[in-house]
């Protein structure tokens, strides 16, 4: 692979103190073989324009800061290698959320929805000094949905969310699932009530955009349908 190569980086820019509408900026940025999109964004900021704004922290796909709309799909910039994308890289903020500046979106509503499903263990106190007992199978039951890093790639890729911003969204359902199916939790009923709201699970149209966007490889649609069927089969 050629070392001294470049890519065309097309970034959606928006400065609330100057612009009324977002606009595009194209930069030719040098890249190295194992570069990820985050490296390219960082280099563009360092070399050309310090005001290019995006969130990032861990740089290896575990903190969920830098989910962006990259070449038409929601991806973590730090987990996507440039060589997988071709010569032009188009980067925009996550769709469906208000833009704060450039690639930064307002996540408050997203976290509000996360909190609305009571994403914490509710259980009666245990006696003695030891841990609760949980079998390996019981733990496996919700293993997949414990992986979520709350990056919002899923919720903002969902056509139902674009259509109805009140939809609680796949990420919140994933985090509710993680507790509903935890054998130690005693609050499943309340969560199922919340999710059977009109902005709950029923808004899912099994589009699978969320699954394709999820950087943690969570089978989100499965989790959603498991919640739907838990609601429809409870007494």
């Amino acid at each position: 692979m050629a070392t001294a190569s470049t890519v065309e980086l097309k970034i959606q820019r928006f400065d609330p103190e100057r612009d009324n509408e977002p606009h595009w900026q194209t930069l030719t940025v040098p890249v190295e073989p194992m570069d990820r999109v985050l490296d390219v964004l960082t280099r563009a900021k360092e070399l050309f324009d310090g005001s290019i704004t995006f969130r990032r922290s861990c740089a290896h796909g575990v903190c969920g800061s830098d989910a962006l709309l990259i070449n038409g799909r929601n991806r973590l910039a730090c987990k996507l290698r440039v060589e997988q994308l071709g010569k032009t890289i188009t980067v925009a903020p996550l769709p469906g959320l208000p833009i704060v500046k450039d690639l930064v979106v307002d996540m408050d509503g997203f976290f509000e929805k996360y909190r609305s499903v009571q994403p914490y263990l509710v259980a009666s106190p245990v006696e003695g000094s030891g841990e609760r007992i949980q079998s390996e199978e019981q733990r496996d039951r919700f293993d997949d949905t414990t992986k979520c890093i709350l990056c919002a790639a899923c919720t903002t890729s969902c056509p139902s969310f674009w259509a109805e911003p009140e939809y609680v969204g796949p990420a919140a359902i994933v985090n509710a699932h993680r507790f509903i199916f935890d054998s130690r939790d005693e609050n499943a009923e309340a969560r199922l009530d919340i999710l059977s709201d009109e902005d709950g699970v029923w808004r899912c149209r099994t589009t699978f955009n969320c699954v394709e966007a999820c950087p943690r490889g969570i089978n989100i649609t499965k989790a959603i349908l498991e919640v739907s069927s838990a609601i429809s089969t409870r007494e």
Binding site: F14, P16, N20, E21, P22, L69, N71, G72, R73, P95, G96, L97, P98, I99, V100, V105, D106, D108, S157, P159, W162, A163, P165, R205, T206, T207, F208, N209, V211, E212, N219, T221, K222, A223, L225, E226, S228, S229
Partner: protein, 137 residues
């Protein structure tokens, strides 16, 4: 963050759906929705025209001449296609609702939808369209 109305509206609704590069699942949904709407529109006309069987049989027969025409046959095939796709994909959805684990194979299920669609649909279309030549004789 109360940020007021100065922010540009986020990309939402149809515009978002068109710009996003979804996968098979999103296409399956888009087709399902389009076919559902199409069949619903036909259904409205269909019920009104059936009502004419009692209210105004002449008018009913007049409308139904359309079915004999070439565009009529083509429309019939399209209706059949929409209904067939919608029915098959609808079944795919219900199957996943019943067995969420099958979501892991949603692409394969969609492929089965298309295979069935063509195995049933192509001969069907042939039968309907062939009447054009028969009536022409």
């Amino acid at each position: 963050m109360a940020r007021g109305s100065t922010l540009p509206a986020p990309r939402r609704g149809l515009r978002g759906a068109i710009a996003y590069r979804g996968g098979e699942g999103m296409l399956a949904w888009a087709f399902h929705r389009i076919s559902g709407i199409a069949v619903s529109v036909f259904l409205t006309l269909h019920v009104v025209s059936i009502f004419m069987v009692g209210a105004n049989p002449e008018f009913y027969d007049y409308i139904h001449l359309f079915y004999a025409s070439v565009p009529g046959k083509v429309a019939e095939v399209l209706l059949g296609a929409a209904l067939l796709y919608h029915a098959l994909n609808g079944t795919r959805i219900v199957v996943m609702d019943l067995w969420p684990a099958l979501t892991a194979y949603h692409r394969q299920l969609w492929r089965i939808v298309w295979i069935t669609f063509f195995t049933l649909g192509l001969p069907g279309a042939y039968i309907i369209l062939s009447r054009i030549w028969e009536t022409a004789k």
